[in-house]
Point group: C2
Chain length 215, copies 2
């Protein structure tokens, strides 16, 4: 089976931003209020933030549960891993996700400031100073035949798109405007020369699901 490079459940504002400016420890999404971005997935049975039983099992849940299906590794940008910039002052920061991160696979964090790998539960974070193409080669090998997820943020996904390394994307567009920040696109039509595009409103979640796959 061909290994695919996939984006799933990436949430953006209607004007294309995945996060605002001024990211900090208290505000992982910067000045923007991310609650409108995550309401749809939080309501589903397989939403990443769910800790209690229950949740919807309709169309939105089909989307959330694809996030981990057949994924063997993730690549993320350093700004998804943490709010720090520049050289690490120390190695105390181990990501936002506690002792049992949700990934359960190798995760490759792209950064110009590498540091030793961290294993938490079933997740190991590796730090790479590498081009998208080089990082993907490492991740595909680590994924052991499974697919690789590009986890974001928007700038990281954009870099992989610009290098033409992504096969499929699922992006949920929320009815809120951020005005500035990390931008995935001005409009998804930017990608329709290379990708098929389907746009399907969520029946209950308020977002419009965007499915893109290579032509």
């Amino acid at each position: 089976m061909t290994q695919l490079v996939r984006v799933h459940n990436f949430n953006i504002s209607s004007d294309g931003y995945g996060a605002g400016i001024n990211q900090s420890l208290d505000r992982p999404f910067g000045d923007a209020d991310p609650s409108a971005l995550f309401a749809w997935s939080g309501a589903t049975a397989h939403g990443p933030t769910r800790t209690e039983p229950g949740g919807s099992r309709g169309f939105d849940d089909y989307c959330t549960r694809e996030w981990h299906r057949n994924i063997g590794a993730e690549i993320m940008g350093r700004n998804k891993f943490g709010p720090q910039r520049g050289p690490w002052e120390n190695y105390d920061w181990q990501g936002w996700w506690g002792d049992e991160p949700v990934f359960h696979t190798p995760v490759f964090v792209l950064t110009h400031h590498v540091r030793p790998s961290i294993t938490l539960g079933e997740t190991t974070f590796h730090f790479l100073d590498a081009s998208p193409k080089e990082a993907l080669a490492r991740a595909l090998e680590a994924a052991d035949g499974k697919d690789v997820r590009i986890g974001g943020g928007a700038i990281t996904i954009r870099e992989f798109l610009d290098a033409d390394l992504i096969d499929t994307l699922h992006v949920a567009v929320a009815p809120v405007e951020f005005g500035q920040g990390e931008r995935l696109w001005e409009t998804p039509e930017e990608l329709t020369d290379r990708f098929h595009l389907e746009q399907i409103p969520s029946p209950t979640g308020g977002v419009v699901h965007h499915f893109l796959w290579r032509r």
Copy 2:
């Protein structure tokens, strides 16, 4: 994790029939022409009839690929297994699916005429003369922690619905009328006292996807 009992990619006509009358070896779906029922899934990357690479990876493909995700066993009616009725004249018939059936799990065939189990590739067919509840207990055990799919036909799904044994259903309703045959429902609203219902038109496949899950 709770084991779920699921129906996936069950295709019916707009008037609720999964198959016509007069099933035979040449016409597994009886007098009805099933092509309108299967066009949507056949176009997808994960459609069960796909033998070549390619296929769409949008919303329809999200539906087809759920068919095998986390499924540990299937239960089907005898009419899905074959066109024979009454006592088996011999055991030559081994299903419609060749040497490598698509199931890759134990499959429990409900019949009043039991026969020895058959193993083909990774699939083993077991024949049970049992109530839906008894058959489900066997299948849940065989599924080893995974979910159980109720594979059809319509009458079998209806029996499991009437015994209130099904947790989730995905039914694709095609824009064609059969007029008679094996009927799943007159209208999906029959089930909304017990199930949530979402109806989402396929962007390209012509069908309306129906998602139902327990209230």
